[in-house]
Symmetry: C2
Subunit: 247 residues, 2 copies
DNA sequence: ACGTAGAGGATCGTTGAACGATCCGACAAG
DNA sequence: CTTGTCGGATCGTTCAACGATCCTCTACGT
């Protein structure tokens, strides 16, 4: 009897296997989250410039949602660091300071280099090979976007490349952290003109890095990545400081 | 004229220097945040056990706040990973799985080791020496707590030690990440009896690490920290798996 | 001219109530 | 044993309202 039940359970488990990842699509519904999605798009696309105040009343009215629901959406975006909330003053689109930018790159070098290094230490299972394949796909997408002069796509491909680097560590928490940090970085990129200047030069370096990874040379990949990040930081930091001063 | 204004501003700046840290107490006011503080304490102290459902109605009634305000507090704690939110079901105290525990230690080794390593690479300015001093203070507090058999204090001192390690990197974002991760870890510690077993053996290792740091031997400190984390992980993971299975 | 105090308006913070939607458990029918 | 259905409990969302807070502008006194 007990054995029969166990076998039955096992069969049922096999039947529903592979549906786990679909649960995420099922659970997503809340109005606040959808509002947050809309606002996130608007912010990253520059419709709401940094520093802009997002009035509860006007936006709530425009989107046809109540103030309470809108507040939940604001809170969501606040914890993604896209908005800042000042008591009794409202929410504003985050203004990234130069110090923020430095910290962002500090986190990036810390985490991304550590992720690459962990590849050299741990075992090479199917997870790591899949992660490297994802990185390679991002590089390929970036090359295609560059060829098509689709600079927006190039930007997202570049971000995806770095997300792939982080994924080498195989840690969901680290992935989430870097997702937020890279979203912040996208804010910086957007206020600056000429995305090509900031992404195109790094295509060949991305390619070099992924080749080193595929060759299993984690140390070389880390070296390349470190100099990549240092160059990117100094270039972006300088340009951003100028941009801030110009206001 | 302009010079006078500038001098005035400078003087005013000097006057308010040292009040920076008080702003946190000033700016904090919102009812939702205070409610979140209360609930956070209750959760970490074990009043709400993992898996418990937090009813909006009952808690809102008990605390005398409206459902909408309580929801904002829930959202706060959800983003700290202390609660999980299931649509149309409510919020529950987070149940840390064994996979979560593994991920927590993955993040810890990644970040803490990288933070220590960064000490060996960057310059030794007053910030890093202050950070090392903070770590030493945490170790000393832990030793005092152990001597007084104040196991709760020992636990917080140990957490503070690791927060100090992370602070070596000098990155606010990294600090915040690890604050959340270590808070999760506290959840694990709390469901397990005998905190002494999990903290006391590491006192001497903490002392060794801080001595290596004070001697400027970052490589040795990293080695010690790595083996520390590995031992801690395997011990805790095993005990926690047993504890889960016993339910 | 300068600094300060106060009035007014706009917006936020919070509450309470309400209605529909969703989930869960129990019970009955196949 | 599975499936369908029903009712209760709870959540999701909206709305209206009031007090609290902040910002701006004006007026006053020195």
């Amino acid at each position: 009897m007990a054995g029969g039940v166990a076998k039955n359970d096992q069969r049922r488990l096999a039947e529903v296997a592979g549906l786990e990842r679909d649960r995420a699509l099922l659970g997503r519904a809340s109005t606040a989250e959808r509002v947050a999605d809309i606002l996130r798009d608007r912010i990253t696309e520059g419709y709401f410039p940094p520093g802009a105040r997002l009035s509860e009343e006007s936006i709530g009215g425009a989107l046809g949602v109540s103030r309470n629901t809108l507040r939940e959406a604001f809170r969501l975006l606040t914890h993604e660091r896209l908005l800042v909330h000042e008591l009794n003053r409202g929410v504003f689109v985050r203004v990234v300071t130069v110090e923020d930018l430095d910290d962002i790159y500090r986190v990036r070098t810390l985490v991304e280099c550590a992720a690459v290094r962990s590849l050299g230490e741990g075992p090479h299972d199917e997870r790591t090979t899949a992660a490297v394949a994802a990185i390679e796909a991002a590089v390929r997408a970036g090359e295609a976007a560059s060829h098509d002069r689709a600079w927006q796509d190039l930007s997202t491909a570049n971000i995806r490349f770095h997300q792939g680097i982080v994924a080498l560590a195989g840690s969901p928490r680290t992935d989430e952290l870097m997702r937020g940090v890279l979203a912040e970085l996208r804010l910086v990129f957007h206020v600056m003109a000429d995305p090509r200047r900031f992404h195109a030069p790094y295509l060949t370096r991305n390619r070099q890095i992924v080749e080193a990874l595929q060759a299993g040379d984690a140390a070389e990949a880390e070296r390349l990545l470190l100099s990549y990040l240092e160059d990117s930081r100094s270039q972006l930091s300088g340009a951003y400081a100028q941009h801030i001063a110009r206001d």
